[in-house]
């Protein structure tokens, strides 16, 4: 590739043609501030509207300042990133942005991880000539949805959410509306997210630089119930939480903190600290059995059987096909997600076992996800109005809870999860990463179908961080065509193939978030650093390798519950408790 030389702040660097000034400066260790710019390398997400103008730099000879994030280096270009002209413009632009932003940092849920706040700190904006007097601020209604709070008064029009919602997720819930000063990102007609095509994947929240899009905070409800002596509190923790939570306590990304996590939850006062990994194993039993059943029919020539089977663990994905492709809703597995399987087991089997009334049990989940909050509220997951899972809190919320409880996470002694709903396998851990559910299912399906032991437990062909991957897995002569996708845009492609009758796969795993749950919208903010996602991904497979049991059907506690309670996967009771149905939730106009 062609190399060119550029001189930035009097230092010269050689960069590939097409490199932006921003990237070239980074090579020299010059950190030009940005706000709207956002990229997830390798995850195919680029947001470069060149809109905020925080990153402007001076290029002698150019009439105006150049935005470093989009301006490509030219041969022998000279750039100044800190000239008086640049600094004045940057400070003024920052003052302008701040002048249309509420100064409520102290009670903003983004406080401490806000990119605008970081800039304000960096530039020491003390007095703002554009605040007060007759200077107005935008005013928009705040929306609290089941998962996401939209406070567009804080929107800085970086458009990351819009890009994510439309280009990556192809959900189309959000768009910039109006123009000029009143311009803002909104749903169609200012409707609520529930009334919109939004699937609550929360990726808009994951990329929002400020507090305009944040999660609904359920911590105080959890605290209230923890304090209630009449309540039995049960907590479950999703696989992806353990590879990310450490980041909130200064650990390097990819640290596996399973034991500390359990200890922290105990310290907070949960009566039973269980693991969603356990129900992930249960999911494999149910979903794997369903897959085997459908496959057998399919191979026998049954034309009505729905192949491919698509996974159904991801609640944003469930919302997606209910809202966007309800006509195809028979393809996904009817198995509930691990969170809801856990809730069902906890409030039926376990409540009975510990002799606790359903109403007296509070089931909390810790999830890397915001769609899980919506999922807990689904009517079909309630009995007499009492939900199987009472609250779902995000990894970030848990971190706050831990801090609130004065727990020094770093020095905590690791402990094991409680029994019986705490034992799990490596197959469950990898649910957290893209391809994990498929791999776990294949590990079990192989042995169940063939009765033989897997010759090699690692299915490398299903792993990776590309948005669409496919593999042929040979199950003792039966060649299974499998696909793994993440990002709802990729999922849409699969659904369109099915719709056209051109889908060649037997099974497809879908996760809504980039890289799977490890980059879920409830995880610690990565602020565009994709190496963090990579580290979580690697940790996920490391955790799998380190576990003694790595196949779901070998989980002794799973085997026990089938023996004792459910009798068999996809049996009568499991259909009642562990499976669900899907609805047509498409937004449409009816004829009068």
């Amino acid at each position: 590739m062609d190399k060119i030389k550029v001189t930035i702040d009097n230092r010269t660097v050689e960069v590939a043609k097409g490199t932006t000034i921003l990237k070239a400066a980074q090579q020299l260790g010059i950190e030009i501030p940005t706000l709207c710019h956002f990229e997830l390398e390798g995850l195919n997400f680029h947001n470069r509207p060149g809109g905020c103008r925080i990153c402007v730099v001076e290029v002698p000879g150019r009439r105006t300042l150049a935005p470093a994030c989009v301006t490509e280096c030219m041969p022998d270009m000279v750039v100044y990133t800190n000239s008086p002209r640049v600094l004045n413009a940057r400070k003024t632009v920052l003052e302008l942005i701040l002048s249309d932003h509420p100064a409520d940092c102290l009670n903003c849920s983004k406080c401490g991880s806000c990119e605008l706040q970081d800039l304000a700190i960096r530039f020491g904006v003390r007095e703002n000539p554009y605040v007060g007097g007759n200077h107005v601020q935008s005013e928009y209604k705040v929306e609290v949805s089941p998962s996401i709070i939209r406070d567009m008064n804080k929107c800085v029009m970086c458009r990351r959410c819009e890009e994510m919602c439309n280009k990556v997720q192809t959900v189309g819930a959000l768009s910039a509306i109006e123009r000029g000063f009143p311009a803002v990102v909104s749903t169609a007609f200012g409707n609520t997210l529930t009334e919109s095509p939004c699937v609550f994947c929360g990726q808009c929240v994951a990329v929002c630089p400020v507090g305009a899009l944040t999660e609904v905070d359920n911590n105080y409800q959890v605290l209230r119930d923890l304090a209630d002596p009449n309540k039995k509190t049960v907590v479950q923790v999703a696989p992806a939480v353990r590879v990310a939570l450490g980041e909130e306590f200064g650990m390097k990304p990819g640290e596996i903190v399973t034991g500390k996590l359990a200890a922290a939850l105990k310290a907070i006062g949960f009566d039973y600290v269980f693991d969603t990994d356990w129900s992930a194993d249960l999911t494999i039993m149910e979903e794997g059995t369903e897959l085997i059943g459908r496959l057998k029919k399919f191979l026998a020539g049954d034309k009505d059987v729905k192949i491919p089977l698509m996974t159904s663990c991801c609640p944003a994905w469930v919302n997606f096909y209910e809202k966007h492709f309800p006509q195809l809703r028979e393809y996904p597995s009817s198995a509930k997600s691990p969170q809801q399987m856990f809730g069902a087991v906890a409030k039926n089997y376990f409540a009975e076992k510990i002799n606790c009334k359903r109403e007296d049990m509070v089931c909390v989940s810790v999830m890397p996800c915001l769609a899980k909050k919506y999922e807990t509220g689904r009517e079909e997951f309630k009995k007499n109005g009492n939900p199987d899972v009472d609250y779902s809190i995000s990894t970030r919320e848990l971190a706050r809870l831990i801090k609130m409880f004065n727990i020094d996470f770093n020095t905590l002694e690791p402990i094991e999860f409680d029994s019986p709903l705490g034992e799990s396998t490596g197959a469950a851990v990898i649910f957290g990463a893209t391809g994990g559910v498929m791999e776990a299912a294949v590990r079990t399906a192989y042995e169940v179908l063939t009765g033989k032991t897997l010759p090699k437990i690692d299915f490398e062909e299903l792993r990776g961080l590309e948005g669409v991957r496919e593999a042929v897995v040979d199950i003792d002569g039966l060649k299974l065509n499998l696909a793994v996708v993440y990002g709802l845009g990729n999922a849409r492609k699969m659904l369109e193939l099915i719709e056209k009758g051109e889908c060649k796969y037997h099974a497809i795993e879908v996760m809504a978030c980039p890289g799977g749950c490890i980059d879920g919208a409830g995880q610690p903010y990565h602020h565009g650093d994709s190496s963090i996602i990579k580290a979580r991904w690697e940790a996920t497979y490391r955790a799998d390798r380190e576990l003694p049991i790595r196949k779901s059907h070998e989980n002794p506690s799973i085997q026990a519950i089938y023996k004792e309670y459910y009798k068999e996967p996809c049996g009568h009771l499991s259909h009642e408790q562990l499976h669900t149905i899907y609805f047509d939730k498409k937004i449409r106009v009816d004829e009068e």
């Binding site: 439309n166 910039a176 009068e592």
Partner: protein, 159 residues
């Protein structure tokens, strides 16, 4: 959301005439607004469905362009030109007088749906500045004193 079948059919037909090509969204919106006068929510939703684009996008476009409106205009749509030529010849005062005579602010429609008042940027009759339009009829070289008579002219037609 509900829509009358007849209206929906009309919209579908317009979209079809543009091959349901999302590129033609603005042309579609023009035709639909030309037909029904404004672009209510359910109409935008139908257009979105026809063109296979999110309703949010349609809404984003409708709210971006000044030409599109989501509220019905009055029977007599009064537009006062606020182009530069009209401005320097006192269009603001003419607008104020219309606001006073009609009892509505610019951008509003009166309660009976008879009059609506808007401003626009240059009708291109700068020689006649300041200019106002009622429907398609152009009134030029206006002074605030002329406004009352113009309004009365239409009020009389209503009686």
């Amino acid at each position: 959301m509900k829509i009358q079948k007849q209206l929906k059919d009309q919209i579908v037909e317009i979209c079809n005439s543009f091959n349901n090509d999302p590129c033609n969204l603005i042309n579609v919106l023009h035709q639909v607004q030309g037909k029904i006068g404004y672009l209510p929510v359910e109409v935008q939703q139908v257009i979105a469905e026809c063109l296979h684009i999110p309703a949010s996008k349609v809404y984003g476009v409708v709210t971006f362009y000044a030409f599109f409106t989501m509220t019905p205009k009055g029977k007599y749509a009064v537009s006062v030109c606020l182009g530069t030529a009209c401005y320097v010849r006192g269009a603001e005062k003419v607008l104020e007088e219309f606001e006073r005579q009609l009892g509505i602010k610019s951008g509003e429609t009166d309660a009976t749906g008879t009059f609506s008042l808007n401003t626009l940027r240059c009708v291109g009759a700068c020689g006649l500045a300041p200019v106002a339009m009622v429907g398609d009829k152009v009134y030029g070289r206006l002074t605030p004193a002329d406004v009352k008579a113009i309004v009365e002219e239409y009020r009389a037609m209503e009686k």
